[in-house]
Amino acid sequence: MQAHHARALLLLALTAGFGYLAGRDFGSMHRPDRIIPGSGVTQQTTLSRYSPHLLGASGETPVYILEGKKPGGTLAILGGVHPNEAAGFLSCAVIVEHAAVLQGRLIVIPQASWGGYTCTDPMEAYPQQYAIPLGEGERTFRYGSRGMNPVDQWPDPLVYLHYPSGQQLSGIETRNLNRCFPGRPDGTYTERVAHAIQQMLQSEDVDIAVDLHEAAPEYPVINTIVAHERGMEIAASAVLSLELEDLQYTLERSPVRFRGLSHREWGDATDAYAFLMETGNIMQGRLRGATSPELLLTGVDPMYLKAARIGMVKIPYDSTGVPLNVRVGRHLQGLRALVEGYNALHPERPIGITQLPSYAECVTSGIGAFLNAPEADPSSTSGEDQ
C-alpha cells in the first residue's frame, strides 16, 4: 500500500472518530427538555392536534392547558418562538409547573419552535445547555437556535417570500417562526408549525395571545410591549400598571406592513388581542465578551458595562447585569398586567390566574423556586436532573 493511501485511511478513521463524537454531541440536543406539569394543568396535548400536517414531525411540541372551574376568557402564551431567548420559554415553564387558573383558560406552548431546540446557531459559541438552580439540585434545559434546525428544512432560498403577502426577506428568515405566520398547511416545515399555531388560536377562541421574546440590549425595541392596533388600549393600561411596580416598559404599535410576525398576523386573522413582549438578553448581544451559561443566567458582561457608559445600551445596565430571574419576572409581571387590562375591558369574560409568581418573587427567590423538583415528575426514571 502506498504511503498516501495509508495516510488517507488513517485520516478517514480519525474523521470517523471525531464524526462519531460530534454526532453524539449534536444528537444529544434531540433529547426533549423535561417540563413537570403542576396541579394546575388540566390537559396536555401536542401542536399536531391543531394541524395533522405536523403529525410525526419535529413540530409536535407539547401544549399545556390550564382550565379553571368557572368559564371565562382564554389566554394563549407562547415561549420559545426563538429558542435562543430563554426567558420566554422559562416564563412558560414556570406557569405550567406552578400556576393555576380559577376562571377561564390558559393555553401554554413553552417551546413553540420545537425544531429550533435541536441545534444552536453557528458561530455564536452558544452553550447547548444551561442549569437553573433549585432549592436542592438543578434543572437543565437546552439553549437552542433562533431558527429551526436546517436538518429539518433545507436548503434556504436566497430570498424568502412570505406567504401570503409576498414580502421579501433574507433567505435565512425562512426558518424563523416569527416571520412565517400565518403559515400554511402544505408549506415549509416552519410554515406548517406557524399554521398549526394560527389554527390553535382560531379553534380555541383565544381572547388574548402573548408571544414572549428577548433581544440584544442594543436593540431599540426592548423592554417593550408590541401590540396589534386592537390591543393598544390594553397595552397602554398595562404599561401604566407596570410603571406603578417600578417596571419601565415602552409601547410599540405592530407595524402594519411588516408581515409574518406573531403580533401582526394573529391580530389580523383571529379575534385575539395580540401582543409581543421583549426583555434584554446579553447572550444575543453583538458586543458581548465570552459566551457561557453563566452569562445567560447573570447577564453580567464587562463589554456591555463599557457600552452602557457610552450610551449604547437601550436598557438600564450596571455591574449587576440583567439576570434571568429579572427577565422572567418582567415577563410574568407583564402577563399579569396585560390580563388585568383585558379583564377591565371584558369583565363578562375574565381570566383569573393564581400562583403566578410576581416580579419581586422571581427576583428574590429565583425562578428555581417555582420549578418542580425532578422527584415530582411521575414519569421520571433517571436521576439525570440533579
Binding site: 401604566l240 415602552t250 409601547l251 402594519v256
Partner: protein, 185 residues
C-alpha cells in the same frame, strides 16, 4: 414695635413675596375641545390618551393629525417621541412625519390654538432620532409636561428656560394626571 420698623418689615415681606410670584411659573389654562396627536409616531400617544381618560379629560385622538383637523379645536396636545415601528405602522417616512408636525404646529400658532407638549417615553424616547421631534414639539409649546427619565440632561428644562415655557417634570407617567387636571380644568 414702633410704626417705622413695622413699615420696613412689611415692605421687606412684600418684596420677597412679589419676587417669589415673579419667579413662580404662571401655568396656562387650556380649553376644550382637545386634539391629541403624536410627533414622531411613538405609541406614547396611546398612553397619553389613557392618561387623559384617567384625568377625565375628553379628547379626540389623531396620531396623524393634519392642519385641517384643528378646525374648532382650542388645545393641541402633542406627544413627542420617535418610533421607527410607529412610522412603519403609520405608513409614512421620517421626513413626512417631520413635515406634518411642523405644518400642524404652524397652523396651531396661526389659529391661536394653544399647544401642550408631553414627553412620556423617558430615556427610550430620547437620542438622535427622537430629539429632532422633541425639540420641534417642545419649542412650540405653551406648557411642557415631561417624565423625569427623559429630562436627566435637562434637554426639556433648557428649552423651557430659554423659551420661558412653564414646565412640570413628573417622576412617573401615572403622576402626570394631577398636573394635567390642573392645566385643563
Amino acid at each position: 414695635m414702633t410704626t417705622y420698623p413695622k413699615i420696613v418689615a412689611l415692605v421687606i415681606v412684600l418684596a420677597v413675596l412679589s419676587r417669589a410670584c415673579l419667579l413662580a411659573q404662571v401655568k396656562p389654562r387650556f380649553e376644550k375641545p382637545i386634539l391629541l396627536t403624536s410627533a414622531g409616531q411613538s405609541a406614547d400617544v396611546t398612553i397619553a390618551s389613557t392618561l387623559l381618560k384617567k384625568a377625565q379629560i375628553e379628547s379626540t385622538v389623531k396620531s396623524l393629525a393634519q392642519p385641517a383637523d384643528l378646525a374648532g379645536i382650542r388645545t393641541l396636545v402633542i406627544v413627542a417621541g420617535y418610533s421607527s415601528k410607529g412610522l412603519g405602522a403609520a405608513g409614512i417616512s421620517r421626513d413626512e412625519e417631520m413635515a406634518r408636525v411642523k405644518a400642524l404646529l404652524a397652523a396651531a400658532a396661526k389659529a391661536g390654538v394653544r399647544v401642550l407638549t408631553m414627553h412620556l417615553g423617558g430615556a427610550a424616547r430620547r437620542g438622535n432620532q427622537s430629539d429632532d421631534f422633541n425639540r420641534v414639539a417642545a419649542e412650540a409649546a405653551t406648557y411642557l409636561l415631561v417624565v423625569k427619565g427623559g429630562n436627566e440632561d435637562q434637554f426639556f428644562g433648557d428649552i423651557a428656560r430659554s423659551k420661558k415655557i412653564p414646565i412640570d417634570v413628573v417622576d412617573k407617567i401615572s403622576s402626570a394626571v394631577v398636573p394635567l387636571q390642573a392645566v385643563i380644568p
